[in-house]
């Protein structure tokens, strides 16, 4: 496995520069049922296709950002920082 991610701050870097945060897994809004909590904590969709993920530029600027990556080809379609606070 070897590919390039583009850090929104620093530019294209080898994937080994980054920490992987897994697929974006939104927290339940309020008081989840036991099942919802279990799904949130322990289950992932693990799609064969494009997935939205969290990445951290660990060996660089340290920023967390989103990436959209095709899990079959490792093609990274987009990277972006979370929108700044309103």
């Amino acid at each position: 496995m070897s590919y390039v991610l583009t850090c929104p701050n620093c530019g294209p870097r080898e994937v080994t520069d980054f920490g992987f945060g897994g697929e974006v897994n939104p927290r339940p809004r309020s008081d989840p049922s036991e099942r919802e909590l279990g799904v949130y904590n322990y289950f992932r969709r693990n799609v064969a296709g494009v997935q939205r993920e969290w990445w951290c530029h660990r060996s660089g600027c340290g920023a967390w950002f989103y990436a959209e990556r095709d899990t079959r080809t490792n093609e990274v379609l987009l990277t972006e920082l979370p929108e700044p606070a309103a």
Binding site: Y3, E14, W64
Partner: protein, 957 residues
Amino acid sequence: MTRLPPQDGERVDREREVTFTFDGREVTGLEGDTIGSALFASGRRTFSRSFKYHRRRGLMCCAGQCPNCLVQVDGAPGVRACTEPVQEGMEVEHMNARPSLEFDAMRATDLFGGPFTPPGFYYKTFIRPRRLWPLYEKILRHAAGLGKVPKEQAEREWRTEYRRRHADILVVGGGAAGLSAAIAAAELGADVVLADEGPEPGGRLLAEGNHARARELTARARDLGVELLTSAPALGAFDGLVPVWERDTLHQVRAQRIVYATGAIEQPLLFPGNDLPGVMLSGGAVRLATLYGISPGSRAVVATVDDRGLEAAVALLARGVEVATVADLREHGNSDAMKQLMRQGVHVLRGATVLQAEGRSSLQRVTLGPPGAGEGGAGEHELTCDLLAVSGGSAPATSLLAQSGARTRYDERLGHFVLSEMPEGAHAAGEVAGSGSLFEAERSGAVAGAGAAHELGFGDDESRARVETERKTVLNSRDGMPEVAVPPAVTSSRRGKCFACLCEDVTAKDIHLSVEEGYDSIELSKRYTTTTMGPCQGRMCQLPAVRLMAEETGTSLADVGTTTARPPWHAVPMGALAGRPFEPAKRSSMHARHRELGANVLWAGDWRRAYDYGDPRAEALAVHETAGLIDVSTLGKLIVRGPDAGELLDRLYPNRFSNLAPGRIRYGVMASDAGRIMDDGTICRLDDDSFYVTTTSSGAGAVYQWFSWWLADWRLNVHLTDVTQGLSAVNLAGPRAREILASLTDLDCSAEGFAYLDGKRADVAGVPCLLLRIGFVGEVGYELHFPSAHGEHLWDALMEAGGPLGLRPFGLEPQRLLRLQKMHILVGQDTDSESTPFGAAMPWIVKLDKEQPFIGKWALEKAASGELETTLVGFRLADGHVPTEGAVVLPDGDGPVGQVTSARFSPQLGGVIGMAWVPVSLAKDGASVTISDEGRRLQAEVVTKPFYDPDGEVLRS
């Protein structure tokens, strides 16, 4: 052995001698020689012994393509003598021969056969009886492999630099085609990297006497800003990443376009005796003469299937080597080279090839004649000679391309596999793409380089149009390629071993046998006979093996196909791939002081830490009796600042921080959303908007990442600063700590003025400090955080002020004991990935009534209402034995119900204490549990409150 008269373009400097040793004996070569050329010039003909039969092998390709010249250099095995430059004083040794290269006892396997010889012997022999395996293994280990890694090596710094290089275009191969491609692309403005195996770019240009052109192209490329990597083979192609190994650097090159100008590999012919020293590839013989000014033989015979061999004959003649006869397998043909040979009166046999080579320790005699003839056939010529230059055609070096997804097909007319399908983003130029002559190679290179640059948007309409015209010319010229005669798999049916694979000593007969045994596909045969799996990686044996398979199975070469190309394409030391990379060690700003004080320094994560100063028990006692000083700079330190800082901490921790008063401190345990303990530390509110957060030493990086991740998600108005490195910290603790501190600061240090869990800012010994009064080791204590630059100054000031009062430095080991006495958990030691704050006996830290849906809230709510199974308690032992961490807790002799996580002997308490997970029913003061430790049974008494100062009276005083 004498050298030929000096000539332009040779690589050696006749004025400068270099001396090295081979098997202990001194050899003198010239600057610019390779080990191989220097040894050859000194008269050596046998360079190695073959893998199985221990036959003599000599220089064959002189281009790093075959296995014949592998030697051991300064203890490193598997070095190719023919490409490794000589260096003064280097120690070269032969490999795979005992007792010596000239007399090898294992040669018996060649003369008499034996269990080592048939294909698949690994799979068939030494299987039964099983109990003899240890003996078999010894025998096999002795016989297998090449070279020996010395058991002991001089202390040596071998580090590999890993360099990432992003480029527009990577050109692999620096011959005429590669250089032209790089130039064309760079002229259009592309950022180009060129990697070449040789010590200088030029490829065949250099070997064939066109060094002026090579240097001209190289200079042009350099002027255009092309990054030229030399002695730098590309190792493979992985998902668009090409690792290029250049001595101590592994370049990980990622280019948007790759131009493969990898050339072609001259092929051997298969005939009995084809491995004798003195049988060389024509290119190898020419290289010796041209680059190193050495006569490859005194009387040469040339056997060829195409013009390459004829050109070699011309080149050898020009360098003054006698060429007795040239056997050209083609019946016709009248190329320039042929005309020249005719003009010089060289004896040429048409439609003939070499049928056999003979000699004792090196070549003495060859038999030429029409292919396929048996013993004593018509038209045979026996000739004495000491050099046979063979050219069995050339095979495009498509391996790297195949690794990146290219496909090949068999070309009947050319007798080898040619590229048929190219992967996206790849271009091929020069011989690998079928452009044979140097002129054509340059042109096809220019077309490929410009084409690649155009794809990336460089150039304009005019440059595009120009390249388009050129491309057509290149394609047309390929149709007019010179005639080649496709040689038979084996040229004659004469007796004698005829090697298909030199690396693994596989003969044509072995392949015949393997097909008979049912291994009738090339991939199966490869695994069974190990053909193509040796050091040459199929360069010399892939095509011959495919030819043999086709003949044996009665199919076409197209049907047999080739084996899958896999990295590494070029031999590379393990150290370059897996050697020690950059390995940072973190040292605190006071590290030198610990060294001076005789500390035992150990690794703790990335840090080098003082484990103790020689007497951990006395150090711990000093903290109780007078005072101790410990360097705790390794703690993670974060400044959390902004209007939402309190809100962020309230969301990240199960307890509350927004209501913490400025100047006060609170302990925090961080949990995950599954309610598991992640880290712990103290948090001091500096002012309304800012908090100072400390984390465990090992968790510092992870906690910062955790904080910043949630911050990115929640987008709170908070700024995080990691000051772990910028600030150092020491903890001063003990009954006299207050007195020592007070002597160095104006701060009111009285129990009332500076109470337990107060955080204050003040100068100490002139250094601006943040002082945290916390219960780190159980005595009155102050943790001082300050700019790292002042580390030694502050340490010295404290030691000086405290020395007369009995202050002692203490290390990590006494710190652990002191903290255990207070039952402070060590996250990751006393807890694991399943531990919740409830299990760890800290229910008070979880504030479920907090309005924020803090991380872990829901899971902890569920946990709070459920039943705990096990919980963390302290224990005291009657026995003096300290149980091992991980020892099992048994209730009444039944199965294990828990385990010991920490245990130490406490001189202060006069006994062994520890922490363990036990069933909740046993978590009562005075309960008795049995600990089973490596066969020993220990009776322990449960303790639920801190062993030392259970109510914190000392601490608060």
